[in-house]
């Protein structure tokens, strides 16, 4: 046994973990599923939803798997009757303050709360009492917030503060009246919000949804097409959600090597151009004051002729290549190669310089 290995047992199975492992990360290594609501791999462990509680050998109380570090010799049981009972109780409490109107919810079929109440066979009938009645917040172009559906998992708040570092939202209020909101409940606007939609991406319920996609289709109707963002050279991946040939929204690809599901406003919400009437789909050649549609052959032919003429008349130093940071490294390389070998000049640059 090396110094950096910790040996534990989970549901009777021996698991080797590292010093940094929590019970939750160890469970993933062991292929054991522990339910969570407030956990997102992109965020610091939180321990708020209490669904991931497990029994640890002889402890007085069950412990949250997401925040508890593993320790040598731990014996963990993830599915005892007692912990299942507490999970049920937690879900029942959540549903006691929830509209429980999945039929009309934007997120039906894509909601962890819905899945867990199905799995644990709990409905919202156990407790009666006050429910959150705050109105829907629709006061910005991209994000719809339905406070009645919020389970206070804090994922939106944490992603906005820990990952985006925008600090747009935090919890307001205390106790039952706690709610994630902007300072003084102002609308999300360009003054205070990046509109990156990271909060929407992490919300496990229908509380935060993409406004532009509302009513445009259910999760199961969407064909997900993995693509690379065309806005910059970082190379973020995401899934275009396509229904009936139309891109309805963008969802995060958590397994993307570059961005792990994170996106900025352009990648997440800048897809309108795809179906825009104003989108340029053929090359245009300027004649007089007018741009005339042309074929690619015509356009390339025209460019080659004009470059040759200019070089012949004024010399090779009068031309150059300027490429865009929306291009990939490979594309940028190709342009510089072309300019150096065909134009025979070193006049190459890129907009990323500025």
């Amino acid at each position: 046994m090396s110094d950096n290995t910790i040996n534990i047992k989970m549901n009777g199975v021996a698991v080797q973990c590292g010093l940094e492992d929590t019970i939750l990360t160890a469970s993933k290594k062991a292929g054991i599923r522990i339910p969570t609501l407030c956990h997102d791999d992109r965020l610091e462990p939180y321990g708020g939803c209490r669904l991931c509680i497990v029994e640890v050998n002889g402890g007085m109380r069950p412990l949250p798997a997401c925040t508890t570090p593993v320790a040598e010799g731990m014996e963990i049981r993830t599915e005892t009757e007692d912990v299942r009972k507490i999970r049920k109780s937690v879900i029942a409490l959540l549903l006691s303050n929830h509209p429980n109107d999945c039929m009309r919810c934007e997120s039906t079929g894509d909601c962890t709360l819905q899945d867990l109440s199905y799995e644990y066979e709990v409905d919202g009938s156990q407790y009666e009492g006050e429910k959150c009645e705050l109105p829907v917040r629709d006061d910005n172009p991209f994000i719809t917030f339905e406070p009645t559906k919020c389970i206070l998992c804090g994922r939106c708040v944490r992603i906005c503060n820990e990952v985006v570092m925008a600090g747009t939202i935090d919890f307001n209020g205390r106790g039952f009246d706690t709610i994630p909101d902007t300072a003084f409940g102002k609308p999300r606007s360009l003054d205070n919000c990046e509109f990156c939609g990271q909060c929407v991406s992490t919300c496990p319920t229908g509380a935060l949804t993409d406004k532009k996609a509302r009513g445009k289709g259910r999760a199961h109707e969407m064909k997900k097409v993995r693509t690379t963002c065309s806005y910059c050279g970082t190379g973020c991946n995401f899934d275009l959600n396509v229904k009936d040939g139309e891109v309805v929204k963008v969802t995060s690809a958590y397994d993307a090597p570059v961005n792990h599901g994170n996106l900025c406003v352009k990648g997440r919400y800048g897809y309108d151009f795809i179906h825009s009437d104003e989108r340029i789909t053929t090359p245009l050649i300027k004649k007089g004051n007018k741009y005339i549609e042309a074929t690619w052959d015509e356009a390339l032919e025209y460019c080659a002729r004009r470059f040759s003429d200019i070089i012949k008349k004024h010399g090779k130093e009068t031309v150059g290549g300027f490429s865009s940071s929306r291009c990939s490294n490979e594309e940028n390389f190709l342009l510089s190669k072309f300019v150096r070998t065909v134009f025979k000049t070193n006049n190459v640059d890129n907009c990323a310089r500025v």
Binding site: P45, Y46, G47, G48, C49, R50, I53, R61, P62, P64, T67, T68, P69, K85, I86, S89, V90, L93, L94, S96, N97, Y127, E128, G129, E130, I151, L152, G154, D170, F171, G173, R174, G175, F176, D177, T178
Partner: protein, 596 residues
């Protein structure tokens, strides 16, 4: 010497209590009046400054303003003073040599103090909290001075030997906590004084700081040196302006005396302290929430482990100790571990300060040795029930998340283990005495209202669970309880305790669970019979007119807003059950107490 017309001020000392309670009762006016009148008598200003002293709270706040007048070394204590009383005291007592008998404290003042053991509060009632010399003259800062000559390990060993346990609630052994922090490897460590004191009705920590702020600073120097922290914070709620003011004065005096700053007490140990004001959230008293608050974040607890002793403020090893814990340290350093551990029980050492309130004659702040019985506190110190014809029903200890102990158990000793075994806890030292007119369901509802409101909202069982429990209690007190409600409360209470993240949620159901344990019949009476046995729950009251007592005046009819009273001249009134909205207006209005 204090003969007629003799104003020999060398033999005169006047001590006036200037805690928040004293000031509210007018102690500043009393001081001003003494100063004014004595000046008139020709006492020089600098002598006056010495003979009229401010002191901190001495606990018996019900009798404020309290003042000692010490002539020729003979002390007389006056109670319930106002500025108007001062002239007569000056004339008759100070000048004339005859104390004003009718304003002197009575036997209950002495009874209140006799069974107490005052270690922490002793100086509070005697020295001027705004003068460092008053503290050093009675040996103040000798504990810190001594500690700085010792090896930190030996200080920790001494605190461990003393058996001191944290006074902030959980009762964790102080020496052990320090050892964890001392052994943690780090370039920077912190000591934090927890003066958030959020329990409703609690004012132990406030009184210590107001009465003897230097004892807390000295305690922090000792603990800071022991764990290897060169910096400390005092986290105190902004609602304690007087305590903050006195702390500021004390810090600057300590600094100019070389007790804070670089190389304190001429050693090579640097130590600095900073006050951090909290906005008064109960949850910010929880140590991890307190740390978040100091860091500028929303005060919400986080899971432990890691414990603050390993990863605390700004990720650095940190010890958080309660005010009372810290203020105890100087005397342990000077008098020794043995002395301290000789007080108290086997596992609970020393003394504990309680805020004694409720239906008891002598309310106030008391300090008692661990292991004293509840009975001694209530009947000897507290003077028994407030009203003669009432009987003791229960005592709530441990603040809003403590439990209640029924009258039958009052012979039990007050220590960490016994209170926990009885389903309650020591907590930070709240003690509420209840008489037979207290409804236990209503009482639980009161405490749960507090904890539900103060829940930080982070975790589901506490945030939603306490709310649901509160709703169930509310409907029981309104006569709408269901037969399944008791089981639901028990189940939910258990789940909240087990599954909540921090101490608030883990203990919030205690008042409900402990009253369900000891007073289940009261819950059942509410639910099954629609009766509140103590007559507290308004909705369950049935207003009826007593045929014998009714004098046919008709007052009740005139005040009833719901037209529920039928009355004609020369006829007895009758209240319609159907129309009555239970507002109680008739009950209040009847001059003959004929409405029951």
């Amino acid at each position: 010497m204090a003969s007629k017309n003799n104003t020999d001020i060398k033999s005169l000392v006047i001590r006036v209590c200037v805690g928040t309670g004293g000031l509210a009762a007018g102690s500043q006016e009393v001081i001003d009046e003494f100063t004014k009148l004595l000046k008139k008598k020709g006492v020089r200003a600098e002598v006056l400054k010495k003979c009229v002293n401010k002191t901190g709270c001495r606990g018996f706040c019900a009798k404020d303003v309290l003042a000692d007048v010490i002539v020729d070394g003979i002390s007389h204590t006056y109670q319930l003073l106002t500025a108007e009383n001062v002239a007569r005291i000056v004339e008759e007592h100070i000048v004339g040599g005859e104390p004003v008998e009718q304003w002197l404290v009575g036997p209950e003042y002495h009874a209140f103090h006799d069974k107490q053991t005052k270690i922490l509060l002793h100086e509070c009632g005697h020295i001027d909290p705004e003068d460092i010399n008053a503290y050093t003259e009675i040996g103040g800062y000798n504990g810190a001075r001594k500690a700085l000559t010792m090896k930190p390990e030996n200080i920790i060993a001494q605190i461990k030997d003393s058996g001191l346990r944290g006074r902030g609630g959980a009762g964790f052994p102080t020496g052990l906590k320090w050892e964890f922090c001392r052994n943690a490897d780090s370039d920077q460590k912190y000591i934090i004084c927890n003066a958030d004191e959020g329990d409703p009705g609690a004012f132990m920590d406030r009184s210590i700081i107001e009465g003897n702020p230097h004892s807390v600073i000295e305690g922090m120097i000792i603990s800071g040196y022991a764990i290897g922290a060169s910096f400390g914070y005092i986290y105190i709620r902004a609602e304690y302006p007087l305590a903050i003011e006195r702390l500021k004065i004390a810090l600057s005096e300590a600094r100019s005396n070389g007790f804070l700053g670089k190389g304190i007490f001429n050693s090579d140990f640097d130590f600095e302290l900073k006050i951090k004001e909290g906005a008064g959230a109960f949850i910010c008293g929880e140590e991890t929430a307190l740390i978040a608050s100091i860091e500028g974040k929303r005060g919400m607890p986080r899971s432990k482990p890691p414990f603050p002793a390993h990863k605390g403020l700004l990720g650095k090893p940190t010890v958080i100790n309660n005010v009372e814990t810290l203020a105890t340290l100087p005397s342990i350093m000077t008098k020794g571990a043995k002395w301290f551990s000789s007080i108290g029980t086997e596992k609970s050492k020393g003394t504990k300060v309680f805020a004694l309130t409720g239906k008891i004659k002598n309310t106030g702040l008391i300090e008692v040795p661990m292991g004293i019985s509840l009975k001694e506190i209530i009947y000897d110190i507290g003077g028994g029930m407030e009203k003669k014809n009432r009987t003791l029903k229960a005592v709530q200890t441990g603040g809003p998340s403590g439990g209640c102990i029924p009258a039958a158990n009052i012979d039990m000793p007050v220590d960490y283990e016994s209170l926990a075994a009885a389903g309650s806890m020591m907590g930070s030292g709240g003690m509420v005495v209840m008489d037979d007119l207290t409804c236990m369901v209503d009482m639980s509802k009161f405490f749960l209202t507090f904890t539900a409101n103060e829940s930080c909202g982070k975790c589901v069982p506490c945030r939603v669970g306490t709310k649901r429990m509160l709703e169930i209690l509310t409907r029981i007190t309104e006569g709408k309880g269901k037969s399944s409600d008791i089981d639901l409360l028990l189940e939910l209470g258990k789940d909240i305790k087990l599954a909540s993240l921090c101490g608030l949620g883990q203990s919030a159901p205690n008042p409900v669970l402990s009253t369900l344990h000891y007073f289940r019949d009261e819950y059942e009476a509410h639910i099954n019979e629609g009766i509140c046995p103590a007559g507290v729950c308004k909705s369950l009251r049935r207003y009826t007119v007593s045929d014998e007592a009714c004098k046919m005046c008709g007052k009740c009819k005139t005040v009833c807003p719901s037209d529920a009273v039928t009355w004609e001249k020369k006829q007895k009134a009758v209240i319609s059950k159907e129309k009555c909205i239970k507002c109680g207006a008739c009950y209040e209005a009847c001059p003959f107490n004929a409405i029951l």
